[in-house]
């Protein structure tokens, strides 16, 4: 493999890792960034999405199985998120520490539930045959580079989700309500926006997207009861670096984290790359405490 091929390969890997991070972080950017809710069970929504896509692939065969898996994962995780919002989070708005503890409890329950239902070892989603190849280069400067279809597919799914979410927020009536509530909750309420319904919608869309992340991740890794734990810290990291309340910032931050970690991993070990990444984030936060892009809002306490 030539140098160009190696660099191109690592950039591709960075995009691939970054796109999975982005899918997870988008949901958090909505709940944490827009609603100020610290949802510790967000990683478990990813886990639930993974198991739902596993179940969908078990019952739906043929070319539609992948579509069914993603649909099932999104709807299932969104419904679970809605249930969580109605039963717990709704009652704890404005009490971030209580929300943190309560959702952490939910996260433990979901993990143990998955362990009881599916067993402690991971289940596997077998990617359909048309996703099993890779785009390979045999000649030229890129000789030796291969980009697996399944990773290209995950990057595409992430881009589609990002575009749909942006359109939803900027072009639809509910997106307008969402922005209104984010900017000034009391005023939106006074003008007749049903803020409770907006909260419910935002939260469940966020968890639904995390479910999609789980379905995507299931294509390249096993689904285990603790799979969410591997990603939750990075997801919070991405949202904080990106800037609260900005999807664009979240996107940049996810790519930044993905590219940095896959570049550093080439020179050191995986564990050291994590250390390096965290140090970089801490330094970055010193200079831009509000992240890459900060959306002004009366809703949030100005620090």
């Amino acid at each position: 493999m030539g140098h160009v091929a190696i660099i191109a390969g690592q950039i591709f890997n960075g995009f691939s890792v970054g796109s999975i991070l982005l899918l997870i972080a988008l949901g958090l950017a909505l709940s944490f960034g827009l609603m100020n809710v610290i949802n510790m069970a967000h990683g478990e929504m990813l886990m639930v999405g993974g198991y739902l896509s596993y179940l969908a692939c078990k019952f739906v065969h043929g070319p539609m199985s992948l579509l069914a898996a993603f649909l099932f994962a999104f709807v299932g995780a969104a419904l679970l998120g809605a249930l969580l919002e109605v039963t717990i989070i709704r009652w704890l708005y404005g009490r971030p520490l209580d929300t943190l503890l309560a959702t952490w409890g939910v996260s433990l329950m979901l993990q143990q539930g998955a362990r009881t239902l599916f067993g402690p070892i991971g289940v596997e989603v077998v990617a359909p045959a048309w996703l099993s190849g890779a785009v390979s280069f045999d000649t030229g400067v890129l000789a030796g580079l291969s980009m697996p279809y399944v990773r290209i597919f995950i990057i595409s799914v992430t881009m589609v989700v990002l575009v749909l979410l942006t359109l939803f927020i900027s072009r639809t009536r509910w997106g307008l309500y969402l922005r209104a509530v984010h900017q000034d909750r009391e005023m939106a309420q006074a003008l007749g926006v049903n803020t409770k319904l907006v909260d419910l919608l935002v939260f469940s869309v966020g968890t639904g997207v995390a479910g999609l992340a789980g379905a995507a991740l299931a294509l390249i890794a096993p689904v285990t009861p603790t799979v969410g734990q591997n990603y939750i810290v990075y997801a919070f990291l991405v949202v904080i670096v990106g800037g609260l309340g900005s999807l664009f910032g979240t996107t940049l931050a996810a790519l930044f984290v993905g590219l940095i970690s896959s570049a550093v991993q080439m020179f050191t070990s995986v564990s050291l790359a994590d250390v390096f990444l965290l140090v970089m984030v801490i330094v970055f936060i010193q200079f831009r405490p509000r992240g890459i892009i900060f959306a002004r809002s009366r809703n949030m306490k100005e620090a």
Partner: protein, 401 residues
Amino acid sequence: MHLMSNRLKQLALAGFGAVLLSVPCSAQDNTVKVGVLHSLSGTMAISEDTVKNSTLLAIDQINASGGVLGKKIVPVIEDGSSDPAIFSQKAQKLIQEDKVVTVFGGWTSASRKAMLPVFERFHSLLWYPVQFEGNECSSNIMYSGAQPNQQILPALDYAMQNGKKKVFLLGSDYVFPRTANLILKKHILKDGGVVSGEEYVPLGGTDFSAIITKIKIAKPDVVFSTVNGDSNVSFFKQLAAAGISQQQLPIVSFSIAEQEAKAMGTSLVAGGFTAWNYFQSLKNPKNAAFIAAYKAKYGSDAVLDDPMVHGYIDVLIWAAAVKKAGSFDPNAVRKAATQLASMPSPLGDIKFAENQSLYQTAYVGQFLPDGQVKVVWQSKGALHPDPYDALAFPGKTCVVK
């Protein structure tokens, strides 16, 4: 000792066991308690639950043929919950409160290291059934799993003999892979091979993209993998997606046996290599009887593997040692165990050496599409266990008191 057992006998025994458990106090005089301490919950449960099963099978069989020194064995089962601290607490509970004469259990090196001081303090005896990294030698532990010179080094010899000189070392980031690779590196260099890379992933890690790129750049002849648990699924999936097949680059895994292959999906590992001291496919009368008895008790779709059979033979050797010593005293039993004659078992002829580890045969096998393993190489007879590799730990020897 009569090991062959049929289904009728076991059914009768199950009934007898139930009666025993329901009247523990009145039966005190003609019973003896042993501890069975494995993770029955948490991340290790998938592996350890089946070792507990085979341990109980051996206890059933001994009870069915009259027990030991005229006493029926009563197992006291405890759950280590995949947590070393809990293993340590439960070991103390078994010894102090339940007054067990010995304990069968443990899997991870962390759990063994947590239990070791307890067994030393109370002068009790632990039978440990899993292959491990060596570099430890306690008078209060019987190490029946493979030492490095009985599993990883024979696999290295096999690879070298087949011209695989450039070795890439890959492992999960904890004590077993780190120590195993330390030993492997010394031997690869001594044998004129090349270490073309050494990488670790955190336990449970799912992203292998950078490591696979490094493997592609290093172009090794073979990968020696001590990756543990679920990470293996990510590794094999991402390796296949990157277009590297097992024919181009053989992977030798030291932590995947038949159980794990079944749980991971047999198609993922087919064609890969693995090294153990037992495979379900071994052809000998003891193994046929063991497989039949296990399936009769736990279901016909059960899969058997190396740690399970070690959990089974540990009980048989303990019982034989008790008979030889004429006592349940842990000190007398462990001394008697090392003086027993070599005996046939599902994994071939075995015998505890003077250092309280097991003489056993090393096998290298290749996974078939059905998840079973075809033996491609085996050592000449049973190998003497060596806890301290002379190259990696010079000057250290194992002397039990």
